[in-house]
């Protein structure tokens, strides 16, 4: 096993990878940008290298600086985490050139799946089912428009190199196609430096189910069951679970077969996820993510496997630790992503976390922020992943709900209330989920809060008075000033009860 691992990432995933490496006796090296110098991921590693500016292109996406950091620290391997360079074939190649093990698939496998259009062509040849669409090189709007007419509206325009909803547009009618193409191209270019688009039939309200796979360099491949990621907002996952409920054993087996067919078709090595959309008894391949996923924790909960350990072993040339028949799934796990984002509009928030209390005693908590840390505009606004595990789905929901109810964040707005509302929703509890869930239940999930009652208004005034009194006391102490009631700002009056007027507001009202 390599002695030292450089973790080319930040945030919770860098901390999570460092934890496994430490357990396996591998030394770890963190990299950090200027704004991350005090970050928890830096503390989580044995060594740390500063690699540049806050903007990702100057730091976490800067291949040369990262390779240099690995050489400088004599790191034998680089784990890219998720996001950033995790699916960048050029980076994987640069690692190989520098004789550093890339903890991920071979360059050819990243390339084969990196372009969604090429991946779909390849999947078609091996018999993995696909959504009707156009994945070719012709990018002219009028040509795409012809293809779209043939496929039938609504259609989905999306970036071939994309992910996470970036560079993706639903187009309801032919008139809106041109604008969608221009804007998707620009977003794709900015996010992935590649503006190639593809179009496909938009399947309304499918389920989003993905299969976790693993393969080693000896030609063995296994699956680690599925995850249901149907609860999404803005095409981004927010609650994921395993196993998927209300999925027949027959479809489940067919999904696993297709996933393993895909893996073998590209001689895959390492951890990967094959994403499908499922519409009643039909399913279609959407894409393969050639990396560890954010939501891998639910798979770890039901299988008891440490996926990062497997990644490291396979990158070290070892064979898969378990055969398919030795991998079992037990119980139910649900993960919620706690984000610094508006719970109604889902706009990302940035700022300082003044107060943070996470439910470490109740569920698995993956985080890299503490009270006093900043959520910056430069990176993903995730605060924490919370993963609950129980024998049953209902038990896991109830544990997760309890954990979120015990979570406290102040200083910036979080999606906490969206998560509690979702977990309490009868439709969510029923397990009959599809990607239309949030939109269809917007009335109950996304409604504004009632203004606080008299009790909380009164208590707030009391607490604010206390704060201002203390502030006054502290200032007096600091300047060694003799306290005189005439200097008080809290309404002291001679011979009558104190009176103080305070205007309070809620949500700017």
């Amino acid at each position: 096993m390599f002695e030292k691992l450089l973790i080319a990432n930040r945030g919770e995933i860098a901390c999570r990878i460092a934890a496994t490496a430490r357990r396996m006796g591998i030394r770890t090296v963190a990299i950090y940008s200027d704004v991350d110098h005090g970050g928890l991921h830096v503390e989580a590693c044995d060594e740390a290298v500063a690699i540049g500016g806050a903007g990702s292109s100057e730091s976490y996406l800067n291949i040369d600086k990262i390779i240099n950091a690995a050489i400088q620290t004599a790191s034998g391997a680089i784990h890219p985490g998720y996001g950033f360079l995790s699916e960048n074939a050029h980076f994987a190649k640069k690692c190989a050139d520098a004789e550093i093990a890339f903890v991920g698939p071979p360059v050819e496998a990243i390339e084969a799946m990196g372009s969604k259009s090429k991946a779909k062509k390849l999947m078609e040849t091996v018999g993995v089912p696909l959504v009707p669409g156009y994945y070719g090189d012709e990018q002219d709007v009028s040509y795409l428009s012809q293809k779209a007419d043939r496929i039938g509206f609504p259609i989905l325009v999306k970036a071939s190199a994309g992910g996470g909803g970036r560079g993706m547009r639903i187009v309801e009618n032919p008139d809106a196609l041109a604008e969608a193409v221009v804007s998707a191209k620009r977003e794709a270019n900015a996010a992935f430096s590649n503006d190639h688009l593809m179009i496909e039939k938009f399947i309304s309200k499918p389920r989003h189910i993905e299969v976790q796979v693993f393969a080693d360099t000896k030609g063995n491949a296994v699956h680690l069951f599925e995850r249901d990621c149907s609860v999404q907002r803005r095409y981004q996952k927010v609650i994921e679970e395993a196993p998927a409920s209300n999925l027949s054993a027959e479809i489940r087996e067919r999904l696993f077969d297709s996933a393993l067919t895909a893996v073998r078709a590209i001689n895959y090595v390492g951890a990967g996820t094959i994403e499908f959309i499922v519409n009643s008894d039909q399913f279609y391949f959407i894409e393969m993510n050639t990396r560890l996923q954010v939501e891998h924790s639910v798979t770890e909960a039901i299988t008891g496997v440490d996926l990062v350990e497997w990644q490291l072993r396979i990158a070290n040339g070892e064979k898969l630790p378990l055969n398919q028949s030795e991998i079992a799934s037990e119980g139910h796990a649900i993960e919620a992503r706690l984000y610094a984002e508006d719970p109604i509009t889902f706009q990302p928030q940035a700022g300082i976390i003044k107060h943070l209390k996470l439910p470490f005693d109740k569920v698995r908590v993956d985080t890299a922020v503490r009270s006093g840390d900043a959520v910056s505009i430069y990176y993903d606004p995730m605060i924490s992943k919370l993963t609950a595990y129980d024998a049953t789905r209902a038990g896991a929901i109830s544990k997760l709900l309890k954990a979120i109810e015990n979570t406290e964040i102040d200083g910036l707005i979080s999606n906490r209330q969206f998560l509690t509302r979702t977990l309490r929703h009868p439709k969510f509890k029923s397990g009959l989920l599809d990607t239309g869930f949030v939109e269809e239940n917007a009335n109950s999930l996304l409604k504004s809060n009632e203004p606080p009652g008299q009790i909380y208004q009164s208590l707030a005034v009391f607490l604010l008075l206390q704060q201002r009194f203390w502030e006054y006391e502290d200032i007096c102490k600091k300047y060694n000033k003799i306290t005189s009631p005439w200097d008080e700002k809290i309404g002291w009056r001679v011979n009558s009860p104190g009176l103080f007027k305070m205007d309070i507001s809620y949500d700017g009202k």
Binding site: R166, I377, Y456
Partner: protein, 152 residues
């Protein structure tokens, strides 16, 4: 650091009986009170200008700024086109003097790698654009000055 604070000696709400305040630190603590039907314990975080109560289903923030802002009155009648979040400007589609129709995308912001188009809901004239492509804006920054048609 635990800190001793005032206690509320008399009920200031008829339904709110004997609230007790416990400060775990200067900014964080819990309140216990009865509303007549049930006992409630709620944690809070507070500084000079706001209090947030952490209720089970949601957090409730109540604020009282020490300085009141003067800009509210000045912004009447003019659509403010304020940045809804800290973001980078990736595209400015108009210039000073541009005449635009309702629905036009004036500026595109990018935050967390997602585009947020800023549109106008009415037709009018862009009087001044305050930022250029590549600029970083803070939440609330006015992006441009806009005069709707039919106004002087």
């Amino acid at each position: 650091m635990r800190r001793e604070g005032f206690q509320i000696l008399e009920p200031f709400e008829t339904e709110l009986i004997s609230p007790l305040v416990f400060w775990d630190s200067k900014n964080y603590g819990s309140l216990q009170f009865e509303t007549g039907i049930k006992k409630i314990k709620v944690n809070f975080y507070s500084d000079l200008e706001h209090v947030t109560f952490f209720l089970e289903e949601q957090a409730v923030s109540i604020s009282s700024p020490l300085k009141t802002t003067l800009s509210d009155a000045a912004a009447v009648d003019e659509k403010s086109f304020a940045a809804p979040m800290p973001a980078k400007i990736i595209s400015v589609n108009v210039h000073n003097g541009s005449e635009v129709t309702a629905g036009t995308v004036l500026i595109i912001l990018e935050a967390m790698k997602i585009e947020h188009p800023i549109r106008t809901t009415v037709s009018g004239v862009v009087e001044t654009v305050f930022f250029a492509e590549g600029d970083i804006v803070e939440e609330g920054d006015q992006l441009l000055k806009f005069k709707p048609n039919g106004t002087n």
